[in-house]
């Protein structure tokens, strides 16, 4: 992450359709100048990147990729995660 940003919304990627998450992200981006975080865990990491790419293809230059963070959650058995932070370019 480049610098601290207000978080409008954290979207946990799961079994819903990619389009559902894209719509939710677009709504979150309208809420203000803060970031929307796409969070994917375990097998949903790949889907989180799919959601980002779909969002990027819809919004083009209107979308800024603020940062990508990867890591492992330490609760119980370690589980990989990704956090993709995006915001609207004004």
């Amino acid at each position: 992450m480049s610098k601290p940003s207000t978080v409008n919304r954290i979207i946990e990627i799961g079994r819903s359709s990619i389009d559902d998450y894209v719509v939710e992200a677009i709504v979150g981006l309208q809420e203000g100048p803060g970031v929307v975080v796409l969070k994917g865990r375990g097998p949903y990491i790949s889907k989180a990147v799919d959601v980002y790419n779909e969002l990027q293809s819809r919004l083009g230059d209107g979308l800024e990729l603020v940062g990508v963070e990867i890591g492992s959650e330490k609760k119980g058995r370690p589980k990989s995660y990704i956090l993709i932070s995006v915001r609207k370019k004004f």
Copy 2:
């Protein structure tokens, strides 16, 4: 990516075991001060993050995460990818 780095090795993550890729990455990191890139495409994006986390748990502070890039390849049907660049701290 923070600044251009020599690439020691690009490791394409696929069906081999996570440990196989971890070993390959460690060998790549020994080759010099450049980066090793873990590349995952489509469903292997999640596994690329698993490989990174396993590498991180083995090397601890000896490993630096240089950058994470995500995007979509435009050849034919778009396919999501992740590039995870790491290097050894000397």
